[in-house]
Amino acid sequence: MKPAPFIRHAPKTLDEALKILAKVAPQDGRVLAGGQSLVPIMAFRLAKPAHLVDINDVAGLDKISNDGKVLAIGACVRHAAFHKPVTENPLGTLLSTVARHIAHYPIRMRGTFCGSLAHADPASEWCLVAAALDATLIAKSTRGERAIAAKHFFTGIMSTALAEDELLVEARLPLLANDARFGFNEFSRRAGDFAMAASLVTYRLQGGKIADARVGLGGAEPSPRRIPEAEAALNGQAPGDKLFRTAAAAAAAAIDPLEDHQTTAEYRRDLVRAVVRRALEGSTS
């Protein structure tokens, strides 16, 4: 469990980082931020990058900013930054609720929000947040900058729309409506394990009826996404146990479940039904 040989680059500025990345990316170069996923994969030699562009020393990447519409999260912002709400907007509470489910405390001190997105593990809580809230992801390279919508960003298991020379410099999350409600639930075998299914829901109440429902689902398919069938079931209806069950069943029916040696499609649907309903139940309290 020792990584294969690699060269570590430690740029101090973003420009320098992008230049190095442009140069080493074709030679199997990878970006190192918190390293909580990449380094174990390297220890197992499942990945053998020849170059690591370590962005931890790059000035200015550890900032969170809020312009009243969007929360912008820099590439080196750690999971632990969200332990307490970073904004008075309901999004702050949402992020701190979700953050507690990410792995274990030492991992949260080191791992980064944007690193999770770039790694794109299907079970990642932050990928689910990005998908459910329709985040915008800002990718930079020496060729320029582009904004990628979350629904186009995640392209499969550990696969994203980032080009090999692009650095995910910022994730932009839209602030929620001030009266937005949200709920989050995930299932894992042990506390801190990868989620086998997770759901984040948000909505508003207008005249006692659900509006603007978002039902995000992670861990159950190759990429996290919103489930329109469940959202349609909710919009325009009064919240309640029966409705939540209907929406959860719609989500379970709508997915193309991940299967593995222990987890059948049926079981994954069981979990989806449970986490969606529980996320919805949690949203009312």
Binding site: M1, K2, P3, A4, P5, F44, R45, F187, R189, R190, A191, G192, D193, F194, H261, Q262, T263, T264, E266, Y267, D270, L271, R273, A274
Partner: protein, 779 residues
């Protein structure tokens, strides 16, 4: 309780929860582990990527040092031996020679200047194997036409134990009711926090090699390695430094250690290997992969009359040394009847070879599985007779001693019924049933589960000899020296690695000699310093090494009293040892024990030839064995939508005889329960159809974390054992033995409204959901 009456210092040390003498070093980072030692050369093993096949060639990159079986000419195979049970001896080359039999089997050793470089070279070694069909499952290996793993064992049966009591048939035929359980225990790994590792260093002056390794059995490691290398034992010193958990996995000999010693001798230098977690999960020893079909015949009053068992134990690809692969199937056969009074018994126990990692003992060995099986049977029988699970146990637990089991084992005085009643009272079953009913009305499913069991501990050589083992462990030796400074050193053949023996043995000695435990150092884990002994395993060390310690300490005490009687001119009967002094009772005549010790070396002429010089005594102990017992109770909350089980509470009422140090005893029980909960719900080594292991990381193989372990409440009864001279019984394995049964019985109790039964460990959420789904989801 008071112990040792008026002997010793007046304040007795035995029975007190003093802090562990070994802990200051460990908790301040001063422990010394195998991987702390630096070496000139580092070794990584190339392991078979195929589950079965002919090894055609191994190609090493130019300029690298890669050792294969061809280099090890003259090194014998590791061939453990049993002389009973139709055992088929199979040998294992320390590096695979001509054939590979499981994924992870070592086929070559890479030697390099660093661990990193060695791992780089491993990636480049080309192993060419003509793959042949493999079989991973024991029942599949028994089928006609299954791939044959060893030619020596046709049909893949390596041993077969059979027993049938003479009166079995008529009792079986006339039984009122027969209840059956088909139990399945999936494969597990002991998962010590420190994986294995060894460091072998050659000493040019003497030609000796010192092997420092993470082992539970330093002396037998020396014997075994010298046997296969054909060298005198005086040429090898084995040291077990601090060892980060063993649980049985580190009592079996790894071929890797043989290679290290061979390399140190060849290179005349130092070489080291540190096993990583992936290697530990795929290639260190596994355990508990069993199918057991158990039937119980009952009379109309739900009294158990007869048991019939069919045990199929997957022993992996080879037989482990020294216990042999008989350790699981034969223990299952011998101890299946457990704590219940049943005199008729029929059993077929087979050890089955497969293309999987070799099995070795793991804390509890077969007893977590047989207890789980038998306790499921009792709960099913309770239901069949519409009895409460507690009632059926009351009707069947042994309550007359000594008791001779259907297998001829003699059970010493114990408290099977008393611990059950103690547990029932402490957990307040009727209050729980009310809470359970209220929760069910709200769609929450709580359950309570009981497990009563016997734990055979501290058994000596006759018990091991009954298995026909060529290597028959059992006894222990302890040498106690009071040196001229007056301080005490006890050198022991046991090899503790977390059990607290440095503290508990010091407590025993302190009481005998009238001194404090801080004056006593317990030396172990070094074949140059400690007497030959068997090590630490099988809940034996406090009973056997503790007994040998008591015998040696009594001899020292006798000699000190004799010396004091000379110098104080008093009768030996009038001398007491207390507070570091020898005192003539009822007078103010005293002499310091430290002074006596000095005189034993420097003033021997004063004793007129009545004592031998020096102050060293030896104790040997080889006891018949003693049965501890306990009742475990688990309360669980089953999430029927996800299949997740939360263990809400765990309660134990146990009897391990005299408790030398309650804090250490309770720590042993706590740790065992944590592993038992892992066995019950989480831990599973999974092979796919090609013999590849799918659980090679700790993200896939799931030991419990602190979060999964509930509060544990312990209650004790102390029934001094007549089979143990310290009156102590062993308790190292009890936690793991009872916990799976209690947890799974609780899960079944919780799910009883669904009409499902879970008879498989681990009861994963997937399996629980599948059972509920198959039962139609309706409560």
């Amino acid at each position: 309780m008071s112990a040792h009456g008026t002997q010793g210092s007046g304040m007795t040390w035995v029975g007190r929860a003093i802090r562990r003498l070994e802990d200051p070093a460990l908790i301040t980072g001063q422990g010394r582990f195998t991987a702390d030692a630096l070496a000139a050369h580092w070794v990584r093993f190339v392991r078979s990527p195929a589950a079965a096949g002919k090894l055609r060639s191994i190609a090493a990159p130019n300029g690298t040092m890669v050792i294969t079986a061809a280099d090890l000419a003259g090194v014998k195979k590791i061939t453990p031996m049993l002389h009973k049970f139709n055992y088929k001896p199979v040998g294992q080359s320390v590096l695979a020679d001509s054939a590979v039999r499981f994924i992870g089997e070592p086929v070559a050793a890479v030697v390099a200047q660093s661990e990193e470089e060695a791992e780089d070279i491993v990636d480049e070694v080309e192993v060419s194997i003509d793959e042949t069909p493999s079989v991973a499952d024991a029942r599949a290996a028994l089928e006609n036409g299954a791939p044959q793993v060893h030619v020596e064992a046709p049909g893949n049966v390596i041993l077969e134990g059979k027993v049938k009591t003479p009166g079995f048939d008529p009792v079986w035929e006339n039984a009122h009711k027969v209840v059956k359980v088909e139990a399945r225990s999936r494969r597990q790994n002991a998962t010590p926090m420190e994986p294995r590792g060894g460091h072998a260093a050659y000493d040019a002056a003497t030609g000796r090699v010192t092997l420092t390794c993470s082992t539970q059995m330093p002396h037998l490691t020396r014997t075994a390695i010298c046997d296969v290398l054909g060298i005198p034992e005086s040429d090898l010193r084995v040291i077990a430094p601090d060892v980060g958990g063993g649980f049985g996995q580190k009592m079996s000999l790894p071929g890797e250690y043989v290679v290290l010693v061979w390399l140190a001798r060849k290179l005349k230098s130092s070489v080291a290997w540190t096993e990583d977690r992936r290697e530990n999960l795929i290639a260190a020893f596994h355990s508990r992969d069993q199918y057991i079909t158990l039937e119980g015949a009952f009379d109309k009053n739900a009294k158990l009359l007869a048991l019939r068992a069919d045990i199929v134990s997957n022993i992996g690809a080879y037989s482990c040394f020294p216990t042999t692969c008989g350790v699981e199937p034969l223990m299952a056969m011998a101890e299946m009847p457990g704590p219940y009074d049943v005199q008729q018994y029929q059993c077929l126990a087979r050890g089955v070879i497969t293309n999987t990692c070799t099995m070795a003992p793991y804390r509890g060995v077969s007893r977590p599985v047989i207890t789980f099986t038998l306790e499921r049977l009792m709960d099913k029988a309770a239901r069949a007779f519409t009895l409460d699970p507690v009632d059926i146990r009351r009707r069947n637990l042994i309550d007359k001693f000594p008791y001779k089991s259907a297998m001829g084992l003699e059970y010493d005085e114990a408290t099977y019924k008393e611990t059950l009643e103690m547990a029932v009272k402490a957990i307040d079953v009727s209050a729980f049933r009310k809470r359970q009913a209220a929760a069910r009305a709200k769609g929450r499913y709580l359950g309570i589960g009981f497990a009563t069991f016997s734990e055979r501990t501290g058994y000596g050589s006759p018990a091991f000899a009954a298995r026909g083992m060529e290597i028959t462990p059992g006894w222990e030796t302890v040498i106690i020296t009071v040196d001229p400074s007056g301080f005490v050193e006890a050198r022991i053949g046991s090899s503790p690695h977390g059990q607290g023996l440095r503290t508990t043995l010091a407590q025993i000695i302190a009481d005998e000699l009238g001194i404090t435990p801080e004056m006593i150092k317990v030396v172990h884990g070094d074949t140059d310093r400690a007497p030959y002994g068997w090590g630490t395993f099988a809940s034996r060390s406090l009973v056997i090494s503790g007994g040998a310690t008591l015998i040696a300490a009594q001899k020292i005490r006798t000699k000190l009293i004799k010396m004091a009687s000379h110098l104080l001119e008093a009768a030996t009967d009038d001398i007491v040892l207390t507070d570091g002094m020898a005192r003539v009772a009822g007078t103010d005549k005293t002499i310091a024990i430290a002074k006596l010790a000095r005189e034993a070396y420097t003033q021997t002429h004063r004793f007129k030839g009545d004592i031998e010089p020096g102050l060293t005594e030896t104790g040997h102990y080889d006891p018949p064995g003693t049965f501890s017992n306990a009742c475990h109770v688990a309360i669980v909350d089953v999430d029927v939508e996800t299949g997740h089980v939360k263990v809400e509470k765990f309660l134990v009422a146990e009897d391990a005889g005299r408790i030398i140090n309650p804090m250490i005893a309770e720590g042993q029980v706590h740790g065992g329960i944590a592993q038992g909960i892992g066995n019950a719900l989480l831990e599973e080594i999974i092979y796919d159809d090609s013999g590849a292991i799918l659980t090679a990381t700790l993200a896939d193989y799931l030991p419990p974390t602190a979060h999964e372990i509930p509060p544990i409440e312990l209650h004790h009864i102390e029934t001094p054992s007549a089979n143990s001279i310290t009156k102590a019984k062993g308790l190292g394995e009890g936690g793991t033995i009872g916990a799976p049964a209690a947890v799974i019985n609780a899960v079944n109790d919780a799910l009883s409204p669904f009409g499902v039964e879970i008879d498989e460990i681990p009861a994963t959420p997937q399996r629980i959901r599948a059972a509920i789904r198959n039962a139609g989801e309706a409560a």
